[in-house]
């Protein structure tokens, strides 16, 4: 079994990202002892609750300059936590922040890096991951040849554990803070409250079959009923119907939600690259031969404009 595992707990505005709990859960399965590191301007008060998900010790790096993310600043903090915890494995979630931070820290601490892991195991003493390559056309098993290892985990790759009532011990971390060269000066929030496709357990995606941007309300309504996020195919994004942040696929986001509902999406290989690891896939398409049906668990053949109102209503009833 892997020894100690350090999880980078991602937070923004004092809110811990859900995927952090997934990483803590996987860390508890893989290792003997789970530590976490929290970086921010005032984060100590959220440290204990990371114990609910398996962290024994939380290393807190607090500094006013950590209020907003910076690659250099956070890499210094993560490196200090690596020194303090001396882990065999560092886990970071492959979000915009995690993907930015991980290579910097791995390069600094000379770790082996496994990126965007869909699975992560310890086999014969080495860390081994499954990752997507060639636009999702290949699933590769890659092995880190040494330790320590830093791995970024794709969001939703592992389930978050049920929280316990355990709390974590807090240890403050001293980080030599220096002026950063690239500084976030502003965070522009979009669509306040809208759930990100990478965060959501349920994603309902609209494609070109919707025919116009107005018809996205059919997608939004079902997503609303399910408490899920709205996704889009590249065709819908390129047509200007919806922002690129919603795009699922090779040039969009790769996601593994519990439930993925594709509506008016043909299922091009580049789209499948982003969602084939969903646990359950439902497709609505009028073309019985659409490739999306070849990977859908439940396919409904027919006109989406007739199907969506019924589907939304039936799901609403089923959840009551």
């Amino acid at each position: 079994m892997a020894g100690r595992i350090l999880v980078f707990a991602e937070q923004r505005d004092g809110k811990v990202r859900k995927s952090t709990f997934e990483a803590l859960g996987r860390a508890a399965e893989l290792g003997d002892e789970v530590h976490a590191v929290l970086v921010g301007s005032a984060v100590a008060q959220i440290a204990p609750m990371l114990g609910n998900y398996g962290a024994k010790v939380v290393h807190c790096a607090e500094d006013p300059s950590f209020e907003l993310y910076s690659g250099e600043g956070y890499a210094a903090a993560l490196s200090a936590a690596i020194d303090a915890a001396a882990p065999d494995l560092v886990l970071v979630i492959a979000t915009a922040m995690g993907k930015d931070l991980a290579p910097r820290a791995a390069a600094r601490k000379q770790l082996c890096m496994l990126s965007d892991c869909i699975t992560l195991d310890e086999i014969g003493g080495a860390f081994e991951a499954t990752k997507s390559m060639y636009g999702g056309q290949v699933f590769a098993k890659v092995r880190a040849t040494g330790k320590p290892v830093l791995a970024t985990l794709r969001p939703s790759a592992y389930p978050a554990p049920e929280p316990s009532s355990d709390t974590a011990a807090m240890e403050s971390l001293s980080v030599a803070v220096s002026e950063v060269g690239a500084k976030v000066v502003e965070v522009l929030k979009q669509e306040e409250g809208a759930l990100d496709v990478q965060e959501a357990d349920v994603v309902v995606t609209g494609g070109r079959g919707l025919k116009s941007p107005e018809n996205f309300h059919l997608i939004e309504e079902l997503a609303g009923v399910l408490g899920g996020a709205v996704g889009a195919s590249r065709a819908a994004v390129d047509a200007g119907w919806i922002d690129h942040a919603h795009q699922v696929g090779q040039t969009g986001k790769a996601i593994s939600p519990k439930l993925y509902i594709a509506v008016g999406v043909s299922g091009a290989i580049q789209h499948l690259a982003g969602m084939r690891t969903a646990k359950c896939i439902v497709a609505v398409n009028k073309d019985a031969d659409a490739p999306i049906f070849s990977i859908a668990d439940y396919g409904i053949v027919g006109d989406l404009f007739k199907i969506m109102p019924v589907l939304t209503e039936e799901i609403r009833k089923a959840r009551d």
Partner: protein, 257 residues
Amino acid sequence: MKILVCMKQVPSSEARIVVAGDGKAIDPTDVEMIVNPYDEYALEEALRIKEARGEGEGEVIVLSVGPEKVKEAIRSCLAMGADRGILVKDDAYLGGDGLGVARILADVIRTQEPDLVLCGKLSIDVENNCVGIAVAEFLGWPHVSLVNKLEWPEEKNAKATREIEGGREVIEFGLPAVVTAEKGLNEPRYASLKGIMQAKRKPIEEVTPSVAMPAAGVEIVSMAPPPERGGGQKFEGEPEDVVPQVVTLLKTEAKVL
């Protein structure tokens, strides 16, 4: 301004990829090789920055690690407008180990002393999303990743925008720095006939880095096509009839509602 673009040659995103017999690499037969699309955004941005600073000013250098064949991709970059190319020839190079490559790139970049290094956000073959950022760390420079907008309020001070979950970050930085390009940064140009002709006379230098290619920190154990999901159940008929059946299955069989 002297701008260096890190470019990787990769199989075309349109290519059908087949895993080779040994199950550890892809079969290169009939696979068209192209400039990594994100590196094209990086190159286009470099050319625009150079052009905006005026005639005869600055230089755009393309740097790549890979086998001899990569010269074709470098040539395409020269045809788009880059001034010269540098190849670190490594025939065995596969690219699974991003940090190892980053160390080599950083070593060569130091000898060139550029003001700005542009990379793609990821190479579409190994999808590591790490080389550019690691290069910045090895150089001790700041980096900004996933940039989809880059402005220059001052000659050596830039303002970049990157997409994050639920919004955008605006980042200010000075030079030297490393920027990694995301889709949306620009629309890359096509090489003109004149550009293609000129490219033939532009130099591609082969260099040997001062550091040896480090022992790989990551090795490929096996490759396979993505796991089959096997088509599930398909329902055809009046929505009023089939939709309730599917919803019942989602609840009782898939247990996702």
